[in-house]
């Protein structure tokens, strides 16, 4: 048995002719889309999209725009890391946007300062709860996520409600709770240490760190193996002795916890929390995931794909801004991207099964 062969029974297999990993296709799509915007940029605006056209010497890239793109993508990207796992599991989660709203409100109310410019904080949520160490809002925020995820997971795993319905319920409920929390008032004036979490490019670093962490977890741990297995064949996984119900609860809890982390980063970056935060983030996250090659029917996809998918998403959105198209167009195009990605996924499926 030669060292690089994984074949048995005398059948040989050429390592060099290995099928290209699907992530490469997503990556080429990214390059292609950038190229299209470059071309449009030169035609319509007379300037480059991502490259520096001011002729500076220190960089070939338009750093400002690149930064905007990845910063824009980072926070929803954190949610997409969770959506990826849920979708690989064969489920769907519509609640993260609302979990962001609720968590931002709750966490921020434990992150407020006592005094603003020498006067008592006019927005203080709870008397006497101010100037807490940063760990307090973090823990409270994460607990919000864990709780929402446990409810999602338990409903789906034990009452067998379809994930779409269960998480739709959470989407509405959590948004309601977010509004109820401060009777619709925004909560502002966080402590310096809380504000530091989402400062500058921190959201991007947090996104990358979480992406790497969950890439490793999905690839190298039993948790990852079981997530793919359940998404691929739930019945078989159950018969093989995987505790499918418990695993589902775990995955939905992790997804909601990631949404809660996104909420902390977002509210810290904006220095305020509002009940309407995170509206539609779940759809953006699902779009990033599906663009990244994660199959809506479960069992296939990767965090790497989703990260590239999130970049594609960011490039398209800021590409439209760059071409000075109205925000209305952006939303319509977003809708088209989501549907388009799903159509592409369907098409990949039928092609894959046609090969059998």
């Amino acid at each position: 048995m030669s060292q690089n062969s994984h074949g048995i029974g005398g059948l040989t297999f050429d390592e060099k002719k290995k099928v290209r990993a699907p992530e490469w296709n997503v990556f080429f799509a990214l390059i292609l889309i950038v190229a299209i915007f470059e071309a449009l940029g030169f035609m319509l605006q007379g300037q480059s999209f991502l490259f520096d056209s001011a002729g500076r010497f220190d960089s070939i890239f338009n750093e400002a725009r690149l930064k905007i793109i990845i910063l824009q993508v980072a926070i929803v990207g954190i949610i997409a890391i969770g959506s990826t796992q849920v979708i690989i599991l064969g489920g769907i989660d519509l609640s993260p946007g609302s979990v962001v709203g609720l968590t931002a409100m709750v966490a921020m109310s434990f992150a407020q300062v006592a005094e603003v410019n020498g006067l008592a904080n006019p927005k203080l949520m709870f008397d006497g709860i101010a100037d807490l160490p940063v760990i307090a809002p973090l823990v409270v925020g994460i607990l919000c996520g864990v709780l929402a995820g446990l409810v999602n997971g338990a409903l789906i795993a034990y009452t067998k409600i379809p994930p779409f319905i269960a998480t739709l319920g959470m989407m509405v409920t959590a948004r309601g709770a977010a509004k109820w929390w401060s009777k619709g008032q925004p909560i502002s004036f966080p402590t310096e240490s809380y504000a530091a979490i989402g400062e500058g490019m921190n959201p991007v670093f947090i996104f990358i760190a979480l992406a790497i962490l969950f890439h490793l977890i999905l690839t190298y741990t039993v948790y990852g193996k079981h997530t793919y297995a359940i998404g691929s064949n739930e019945q078989a996984s159950r018969m093989s002795g995987i505790n499918v119900e418990r695993h589902k609860v775990l995955v939905y809890t992790i997804a909601a916890t990631l949404a809660a982390l996104a909420a902390v980063v977002l509210s810290s970056k904006n220095l305020t929390a509002q009940a309407g935060m995170g509206v539609m983030y779940e759809l953006d996250a699902i779009a990033m995931t599906v663009i990244g090659g994660v199959s809506l029917s479960g069992g296939r996809g990767s965090i790497i794909g989703t990260v590239i998918g999130s970049l594609i998403f960011g490039v398209i959105i800021s590409g439209f801004t760059f071409l000075k198209l109205d925000a209305y167009y952006q939303e319509m195009v977003k809708g088209a991207i989501i549907v388009g990605a799903v159509v592409l996924d369907q098409w990949r499926q039928t092609r894959a099964s046609a090969r059998l």
Partner: protein, 256 residues
């Protein structure tokens, strides 16, 4: 200490109004290889699903290795020593061969609960070693099962049970979709199990196979056991008569 590895008493399963399995009394001895035959829908798979606790039985007893058992699910049955190849295979199509072989009982390097680190190399090597014995041909075991032929998939499912030592192996129509060569391979695995003294319940429609490999034939008809025949004292025509209902074993006179 008796040498009966598995016994069922009055084992019964109703799906609503459907009496899929009715009062099955069945025994298999240690080291014995017993065939279960019967027409489609006779209740053979249902019988297996009650023993392995894929479903919970309506009534009756299962006595495994001398003790009455009430497994909560297939994993408990497996942990107790019953390995099963289900008729619908129970493979995860998107995973590669080692992942399927070790599904639900992965080898780990560090135990961190659900986040335990997989020992992928050990699983790969054990897979190679296990599959080589079965004689199956697979170009690359690291490919997803999805891209493999029906026979290769079947062999993976069977290798999965053969790779782990068990007190009782149950195979539900393991060669139904296989070519001549693959069938021979599966039959080889069955012979190996016999030599190793492992007990086996084989569900099969293949008369030749049953007469070549098995010690005893139990016939199911419309949810009931209607015959219990020693292979040496019977012949295929006889078995067909029992399957179709032309004949019924004396001790099963009520099973009409």
């Amino acid at each position: 200490m008796s040498d009966i590895i598995l016994e069922t008493r009055d084992l019964t399963k109703h799906y609503g109004g459907v009496h899929a399995l009715e009062g099955a009394n069945f025994q298999i001895h240690k080291g014995e290889h017993v065939a279960i035959m019967g027409d489609n829908g006779a209740g053979k798979s249902t019988f297996v699903r009650q023993i392995t606790a894929v479903e919970q039985r309506t009534r009756g007893e299962v006595i495994f290795d001398g003790k009455p058992v009430h497994f909560a699910g297939p994993i408990e049955a497996r942990e107790a020593g019953i390995e099963t190849v289900f008729q619908n295979l129970a493979l995860a199509d998107d995973l590669d061969v080692p992942s399927n072989l070790f599904l639900g009982r992965e080898k780990v390097k560090f135990n961190l609960g659900p986040f335990s680190i997989l020992d992928r190399k050990a699983m790969r090597e054990a897979t190679m070693a296990g599959l080589v014995k079965t004689g199956v041909k697979i170009p690359n075991i690291m490919n997803p099962i999805r891209n493999m032929s029906g026979g290769q998939r079947q062999c993976v499912a069977i290798a999965r049970t053969a790779a782990f030592h068990s007190k009782l192996t149950i195979m539900d129509e393991p060669t139904a979709a296989l070519g001549v060569q693959e069938t021979a391979q599966v039959e080889n695995i069955i012979k190996t199990l016999k030599e190793q003294g492992e007990s086996l319940i084989l569900i099969s429609h293949n008369m030749r196979q049953v007469f070549d490999l098995m010690d005893r034939i139990v016939v199911f008809r419309r949810g009931r056991i209607c015959a219990n025949l020693n292979v040496r004292d019977t012949d295929p025509q006889d078995v067909v008569a029992y399957i179709t209902g032309a004949k019924t074993g004396a001790e099963y006179a009520d099973a009409v």
